[in-house]
Amino acid sequence: MNDILRVNLLSPIALAFVLGVIARAVRSEFSLPKEIYQGLSIYLLWSLGLHGGVELAHAQFGAIALPAAVTLAIGCVTPVSTYLAVRHIGRFSEADSAGIAAHYGSVSAVTFIAASTFVKGMGAEPEGFMPTLLTLLEIPGIQIALTIGALRTRATSRPVSEIMHEVLTGRTMVLLVGGLCVGALIGDKNWQVIAPFYDTKGAVFRGALCLFMLEMGVLAGARLGDLRRVGPFLFAFGILAPLIHGSLAAVVGTLAGLSIGGATILAAMAASASYIAAPPAVRMTLPDANPTYYLTLSLAITFPFNVLAGIPIFYRIAQIAHGAK
């Protein structure tokens, strides 16, 4: 276990993230230009979709049914469990609880990418259809949480349907779903030509990921000051929730027939909290939910935890689960 943790902590991705946090901690004004940061995330998502599509074209669809079902189930469970915990244990307002639930119900694509990179580095090649599962998990969690919120709180300031259209047509979905289709259509010959640029195991992709994680560190570091504001309950929640959601997903994923790599990635998805699709959606539908809570949780607690410790832990659990099978 310690080995795996050490290996992960010494990966360029983790170290770049830590560097970004440190830079912020020493009050450096360093930061990637917003457009570069956005450009990198577009490139990463687009690569993920393309490469996923190419592999999807090879997958037999029998294999994907069960994992897909499990993924959707996770998308339904995590927002509810989150809502109940924050509302009834943490005693937070309905709006705050629903807002946080939307974040944990959805998924962080970067955490997904970090997990893929980790398991591939470990030699535990995941299923080719994992990016497809990512797209399945993006939506339902937000959907469910916002609906809970809409029901519990006074009429939301804007119809959920409208918001869901924004989520469904957001950058992440366009690039992932679009990339999957394009990747599945172009065929291997075309893929070979562009693979060195888009291969998610390649140097360009991983190099770009390092730069991106550096900025993620800066953004997370910028929120460290808010840690006091969220209080002890949410702080603990930000670590326990991913641990519990992720561990369960690692086991269930294994039972659903996923490889060790696949189960680890599924766990990382379940454990992760969205900070791209969810925040604006929640802001619009639940304006009285405090953004400091859900943003600090997602960016400054759960994301670092998953990237630095969670993923290797889930990997170990998946290994054990596979052994037990």
Partner: protein
């Protein structure tokens, strides 16, 4: 030359509100608007963006009546929950016809 006195409503708010504010301005009678991207700080900290402090600044030149309606509306809908300010500036325009939807 002859210019006509009108009001310019300026709103500084979270970027997430852009499309919504634009629609509401139109609905309230603004015939156009100009948006600038900026950053800032105020009396509150909440900001639902991964880029803390990012704001949009919307300015709309409108009739005094529409200006009042816009200020009413935003005071009622945004001041409580959002990073949001609104103010009115006196301006003198050419082609005043351009600014009345009627």
């Amino acid at each position: 030359m002859i210019t006509t006195p009108l009001k310019m409503v300026v709103i500084v708010a979270e970027p997430v509100l852009e499309s919504r504010l634009v629609n509401e301005l139109r609905a309230l009678g603004a015939t156009g608007y100009t948006i600038l991207d900026g950053r800032g700080e105020g009396t509150r900290h909440a900001h639902a963006t991964d880029l803390p402090g990012a704001n949009i600044r919307i300015e709309a030149i409108v009739s005094p009546a529409v200006a009042g309606a816009v200020m009413e509306f935003v005071s009622a809908h945004y001041f409580v929950n959002f990073s949001f300010i609104a103010y009115v500036v006196d301006v003198a325009v050419a082609r005043s016809g351009k600014y009345s939807s009627s």
